[in-house]
Structures are given as structure tokens and as C-alpha cells.
């Protein structure tokens, strides 16, 4: 069996008395595209924040690349963060920097490479995501789909072992969204990078997901785990069926 790069064990997250989810346990295996899915407000983005160490879980344990990310500090935390990349839902590109400078930013923060080397790496990453002709443009001058692609290029700048993508298809038209799915698939295939994708876009889930977990707001936790295509065909859970068949509950 392929090595697990992320292990979540009995994870719970509470804000005051409000339990977002509890008893969430799963593994993400090296090289797969793992999807965290669920309806609005079920805690997908909160779980993502736990996985990338922005918040500690209220209970349970999350190990990323064998390290308990919430407990790390200082250089150990920096070393782990260098091995993961995150693409934010809004792209989160710095508005005052052009695309090349945005992608150069993590390289500058984590390596001692000279300027021309950083520019070469950033240029190659932007070329890989199809933005080779937009390197000098500012984020405000490009479309939503291009912002997402640039966000992926920045997340890939340090050749991370795990790439976290928060709602990559949100707000995009079907053609751009399909293009982004193809990009994710090709990157996963060519680079062997593990992808953790948070989304509720059904077509994307079915197009790219190797495995998935589904969170549910009512159940306050995980209600399904497995291959999304099989879940669509075989799951008997009413919420899972409703989600995959686009039915109202």
C-alpha cells in the first residue's frame, strides 16, 4: 500500500460550544488526488486550515509528512511548510506584485537562489500552468481562471510534496473549470505531487478525485470515504446520494 502523507485521527473542531465536526479520521496517500467534499458550511475549509497548520484541532491528531503540524514551531515548522503548497480560494496573489514576482516570493523566502535563478524557476512554473505570456501582468489585470492558475504556480514554486487547493473551480465557467481540472490531473501525473482538493463542484470531484471524504453539516463529521465514482453509484447514505445526484433532501 502507498505511504500515507497525511494522517488525521479522531479530529474535532469546535468554536466555543459549536462543534463544526468531530471524529474525523482519514489518510491521504502519496501521489493521489484526495478530495474533501461536502455542502456549504460543513467545515471543509476549516479542515483544510487544520491540515496546513493554521489552527490546531480542538481534539485529535493531524500528522502531515510524519510531523504533527499544529505542534511545530520555528525552523521545524518552516521546514515543513516548505514541503507543502497552498492555493487559496481567491488566489491570494499579492496585488502589488506581478505574476512572476508573486511566484518568486516563496522561493526568495525559503532558498538562497540568486535573482535570475528565482526568475527562471518562477517563469517555468508559470509556463507549466499556461501563463507564460502573462508573467509581467498584475493580478488585477487577469481573469479569475488565470488568478487560480497563478495561485497553483505559486503553490508549486518550491516543488512541494503536497499541494492543497481550496475550491479551485469556484466561480469559474465550465470550460475554464474543466481546463483547471486537466491541469491538476496533468501535474499530479507528471510531478507525482499529492493533491488535497477542497471543493463541492461535482464535475471536478468526479473528474479528478482518486479518493474523497465527505463532511456533513447535520452529522457534524464524516459521512463517506472512498472513490467518488463508486460513492456516486453505490452509496446508500441519503445525503451522499443527494449530493452526487444533485437532489434536494
Amino acid at each position: 500500500m502507498t505511504e500515507a502523507v497525511i494522517r488525521a485521527e479522531d479530529v474535532a473542531m469546535r468554536f466555543g460550544t459549536n462543534t463544526v465536526f468531530q471524529d474525523v479520521s482519514f489518510e491521504v496517500r502519496r501521489g493521489e488526488i484526495f478530495v474533501i467534499l461536502g455542502g456549504s458550511g460543513c467545515g471543509k475549509s476549516t479542515l483544510l486550515k487544520l491540515l496546513i497548520g493554521l489552527m490546531p484541532p480542538s481534539a485529535g491528531r493531524i500528522a502531515v509528512l510524519e510531523e504533527e503540524i499544529a505542534r511545530l514551531a520555528g525552523q521545524a515548522r518552516r521546514d515543513l511548510l516548505r514541503r507543502i503548497g497552498v492555493m487559496w480560494q481567491s488566489g491570494a496573489l499579492l496585488g502589488s506584485l506581478n505574476l512572476l514576482e508573486n511566484v518568486m516570493l516563496p522561493i526568495e523566502a525559503h532558498t538562497a537562489l540568486p535573482d535570475d535563478a528565482r526568475a527562471l524557476v518562477a517563469g517555468s512554473k508559470l509556463g507549466l500552468v499556461g501563463l507564460g505570456d502573462a508573467t509581467t501582468r498584475l493580478p488585477a489585470e487577469i481573469s479569475g481562471g488565470m488568478v487560480k492558475r497563478a495561485g497553483i504556480a505559486r503553490a508549486m514554486a518550491l516543488d512541494p510534496e503536497i499541494l492543497f487547493l481550496d475550491e479551485p473551480s469556484a466561480g469559474l465557467d465550465p470550460i475554464t473549470s474543466a481546463g483547471l481540472d486537466e491541469l491538476i490531473l496533468s501535474l499530479a501525473r507528471e510531478t507525482g505531487t499529492t493533491f488535497v482538493v477542497v471543493t463541492h463542484e461535482l464535475q471536478s470531484i468526479l473528474a479528478i478525485g482518486d479518493r474523497c471524504i465527505m463532511l456533513d453539516k447535520e452529522a457534524r463529521g464524516m459521512i463517506a470515504e472512498g472513490d467518488p465514482k463508486r460513492l456516486k453509484e453505490e452509496s446508500t447514505h441519503p445525503t451522499v446520494r443527494a449530493f452526487f445526484h444533485r437532489e434536494a433532501l
Binding site: 540568486p114 535563478a117 508559470l126
Partner: protein, 359 residues
Amino acid sequence: MLETDTENGVPVLRFSGRLDAAAAASTWQAAHRAARGRFVVDARRVEAMDSAGAALLAGLGEGAEWREPEAEAPRLVLRRFRAGLERVSPPAAPKPLPWLAQIGAPFVAQAGGLRERLRFLGETVLAGSATALRPWRLRWREVVRHLDEAGTRAFPLCVLLGVLIGVILAFQSSIPMRQFGAEIFIPQLVGISLARELGPLLASIVLAGRTASAYAAELGTMKVNEEVDAIRTMGLDPVAWLVLPRVAAAMMVMPVLALVMTVTGIVGMGIVMATLGYPPVAVANQLRQWLSLGDVTGGLAKAAVFGLVIGYIGCRSGLSAGRGPRAVGDAATMAVVGGIVSLVVLDGLFAVLFFRLGW
């Protein structure tokens, strides 16, 4: 790892082992120094490579004779890296304008900016006139909110600045005045300076720094988030809805802030006079004798106009913001700089006007 030697007189750069970011950073300069003219890049013994290592190899130039990595993984990384670079096209140089257009372009841009300013001024005057005729249409709840933000919350700052300015003016003027035995005239000097000039001016600077920038940032963010367009498409007038309450609040609050600044400045001056041996009664008598109601009302009227202009400039800067977070910062800067420059110019005009009127 990098080793250099020669084969038949041609320099050979031999890379081996793991070529990652650390290795690339440490060998970059040496590799580029050796890669001159005709040379060979021998990467056959590279075992692992990341993008930084690939950048090191790919950045050595086209003219090299290549010996690709024998291991599959680094060969793939290098191939992928080159594929990415091949898709990068240099940014297209902007098409140069004909010489006549180059001369005319800045004027056209300035004219466009001026037209926009005039349009906004016209809209504001129209909306303001309509509201003056029907004052109940003004969003008074918003006015009160802005009065609180621009006024009540600025009180402590105005009190602090007023007292300090009064103390500083009194101390500074006491030095030359003492040489002429004229220390008793310090209250007139400071009182008239504060009432006619410094009170309104300093309160305006506080308003420009605190409130105009806040107006610009708030409205700029609303513009970036398309909230202004949403207001327009709901059939509402953004000027009446967003600008007038803010401008009205700034105009109303300014005389009060100027008065606070003046009164607290006089208190500060009184404290200094007490330390110089002049009792409060002597200071009050001097002020009563020399400080007229016209000095105070003239200053307050001036302050109201300053408030109107600063509020207007803050709102215009916000609503003319471009796109992106940088635009909001630019709008706030424009509001503060534009506000301060305008109020100094206006102050000069008021000085000439008051001189002509003999006030």
C-alpha cells in the same frame, strides 16, 4: 555537486549527486563563471533534482553540449522545467505612439481626469442642492454615524494636540517677548493665532489624516467589491447615498473640532503663563480685550469650509479608486495629500479675503 575540468581544451561542467535548491544556490556563481563560450554540461551523474537544480542547468545557456542525466527522475524534472520555460514568451513591448500622439497623450489623460473631476463635482453639487431643498432625504442615521467617527472619536486627539500646541506656542513666543518685557501680550498672540488660523488648520489636518483617508479606504473598498455598482443598479444615487452623509458630517464636525483645538490651546497657553507668573485673571483680561468674536466665528466658518472640502476629496478619492487592494491604498494617500494641499491653498484664499474685508 559541481566539478570543472577540460576535454580537448573545452571546459566541462560535471554535475553529480543531488541538485536541489541548496546545491543550486551554492554552485550557481561558479557554474555561470565556467560556462563561457563553448562548453559541455555533463549531468549524467545527477541522481535527483528539483526545479532549482533544473534552473541551474537550464540557465547555463543554449550553446552548451549536453549530457543529460542518466537517472529517470532528474531527466523528467529537467524536461518538465524546459517545457515550462518554452511556454514563456517575453512581454510584448508596448507599441510606440507617433511623436505627435506622444506629446498629446499626457494632455488627453489630464483632460480625461479633469472631466471626471468636473463630472463628480457636478453630481455632488446637484445632489447637494436637491438635498438642501429636501433635507429629510439625507440619510441622517449615516450622518450621525460619521459624526461619531469623525468627531467624537477625534476629540481626545484634538484635546491633546490643542494643549500641546498652546504650550509650545506660549513657550516659543515667551523667549523673544521677554527681551522686550512684553510677556503679557503672549495671550493675545497665541489666542488670535489659534482662533483665526491654527485651530481650524490643525483640526483640518486631523480630519484629513483620520477621516478623509478612512472615507477613501471605505469607499475604495466598496468600489473594488462592486458595491457601488450594486447601489447604482438598485436605482440609487451613490453620491446622495454615500457621499453626502460623509461630506455633511465632515462639514458639521469641523467647527466643533476647531473650537476644541482653540479652547484647549488657550488652556495650554494659560498653563505656561501661570508658570511665568501671570494669574489666569490676567490672561483672561488680555484675551477679552483683544480676541474678538469675529476672530472666533471667522475661524469656525473657515473650518466648516475646510470640512466640506476635505470630506469631498476623501469621497472622490475613494470613488475614483482603480482595481485591486493597491488602489485602495492609493486612494487613501490621494485623499490625505489632496486634502492637506487643498486646505493650505484655501487657507491662503481666506487670508486674502479676510484682509480685503478688514477682518
